[in-house]
């Protein structure tokens, strides 16, 4: 089974230490919500895990040091949904999703049947098959988000990192997108998603990591992480806590910091 282990990870950008000694271990089947205030280091942590920026400490995937892996090998194991949803060119949805097969194709080769199947499956899973011909630049934010998730799905990696995939989406799209990730985790993948909607994270994620100033403040199930004391200390908010179908509901109601 997939296992990701991060030990004492430090990341400095422009002379400032953004991530300061983060350690956690995770395995396939987990849907981890990475939460924390703006500037707490969530995106930087994801980018360091992907090897996009230099970091110190250890990151290992299935007991192999990620930094020694070739870029292509890492791409076969880990996919990424970035927070930015901009697309430079008006590519068709199908073309965008096909890009996810990039690490699977040898140089100078075309997509093979197995790649086409993976693209079809990814489009179905993210429910974008109906818009395959449409240019991505003409889609709404929610549709575009789903297309970019389908792109990452087509990469068929065992670990998926998503940076605020639900931001700027309406409630229905937020739920649909999160359900896609939830389903992936249920099928054995490891999903790590950053999120600002605490109730959404509490409802769908199997585990939450709370970051504050580059340090891990709390790690565990929602009820253990989303306490009044933690929210007060990390976010500087007082919140309403409720229950809905056995799930925690958290609604921040006043900023105290």
């Amino acid at each position: 089974m997939t296992s990701l282990s991060v030990e004492n990870l430090h990341v400095s950008l422009g002379g400032r230490e953004i991530v300061q000694g983060v350690s956690f271990a995770a395995k396939g089947g987990e849907f981890i919500g990475l939460i924390g205030p703006n500037g707490s280091g969530k995106t930087t942590l994801l980018r360091a895990l992907l090897g996009l920026i230099p970091s110190t400490g250890s990151i290992s995937l299935n007991n192999v040091d990620l930094r020694t892996m070739a870029a292509k090998q890492r791409a076969l194991n880990m996919s990424y949904v970035a927070q930015e949803r901009d697309a430079t060119w008006p590519l068709s949805v199908e073309t965008v999703v096909s890009l996810g097969r990039t690490p699977h194709i040898a140089p100078m080769q075309q997509l093979k049947a197995v790649d086409r199947d993976a693209v079809e499956a990814a489009m179905r899973e993210a429910d974008v098959a109906d818009m395959r011909e449409r240019p991505i630049t003409e889609l709404s934010g929610g549709e575009r988000s789903r297309v970019l998730i389908a792109r990452a799905l087509a990469q068929a990696s065992s670990v998926m990192l998503a940076d605020e995939p639900t931001s700027a989406l309406d409630p229905a799209h937020q739920i649909r997108v999160t359900e896609i990730f939830s389903g992936l985790a249920a099928n054995g993948r490891l999903v790590l998603m950053t999120c600002h909607d605490l109730s959404l994270a509490a409802r769908f994620c199997t585990r939450l990591l709370l970051l504050s100033n580059g340090r891990l403040e709390a790690d565990g199930p929602a009820r253990q992480v989303l306490t009044a004391e933690n929210l007060q200390r990390v976010y500087g908010v007082q919140a309403f806590f409720g229950e809905d179908e056995d799930k925690l509901v958290v609604v921040p109601r006043s900023a105290t910091g």
């Binding site: 996009l52 990424y80 697309a87």
Partner: protein, 329 residues
Amino acid sequence: MKFGLLVGLLVGLVGVLFCVSLGVGPAGLDPVTAFLGLIGIGNRAAELVMQEIRLPRAMLAILVGATLGLSGAVLQGYLRNPLADPGVLGIGASASLGAVLAIYTGLAALFPLALPLAAIGGALIAVSALLLLAGRHATPLMLILAGIAISSLATAFTSLALNLSPNPFAALEIVFWMLGSLTDRSMLHVWLSAPFIVLGCVLLFSLGRSLDALSLGPDVAASMGIRPDRVRLVAVLGTTSAVGAATAVSGTIGFVGLVVPHLLRPLVGSQPSRLLPVSALGGAAAVQAADIAVRVIAPGRDLKLGVLTAIVGAPFFLWLILEQRRRLV
């Protein structure tokens, strides 16, 4: 339009223009004489005209045009900017400076290959400076800034050479060379530039898939196993080799590298990898057509190719901008 059909049509267009280009010239040969001359069984004069004058000219038009179209498409894809062209890296301006110095110092008059060799030397110095200036982990923006700096410096030195030129004839020769032309080039020019152009184009063609991935941003591309540093290096070296050699034999031919990818992009669903071969073919067709036009419009006046591409290209570019604005509003 189907991609294969589009490529086929463009190949056909380049082929037809190649034949037309071989048939046009002040010698006024009829098609049969021209053909016999080309394959070397006609009269001596026709043979000379076809093999020594028209064939190298038509071949260079294809090489230079393909270079401009392809490098324009690659740079627009890599810089993720539809307004990029082969000039942004300052390679063309530096190659021009090398050529101008060869004319200025009189080397070009001593032996004919001094000019293209000096131009290629200028391109090589420029690319070294570019890579040093931009640094190892340069972003596209830093690359553009470094390119602008190099381009400005090369243009400044070119002006200096003009300013200090020993006599009006040298100055005139420099100015005329800079206007860009394929007139009176020999097979030597073809054999000199072809290896660099082919090498550069092979490098640029190899970037297709990386450019596709980059259309979703550098981070996502890297997460798919694309190495941005390598893409940048290959793009810069490929452009240097191809554009440096093309400029060395033709001078500066503007707007082809900017307009051709722009025009063809919608026909390939905007996919950068598919844009590469069609832009190379489109560029070859455009330069062929322009080089035929300068001979037809003003026979005997030596209208410069670069002047024509600018006169046709600039308004066209303006129209593209207006079109884009209309779509945004």
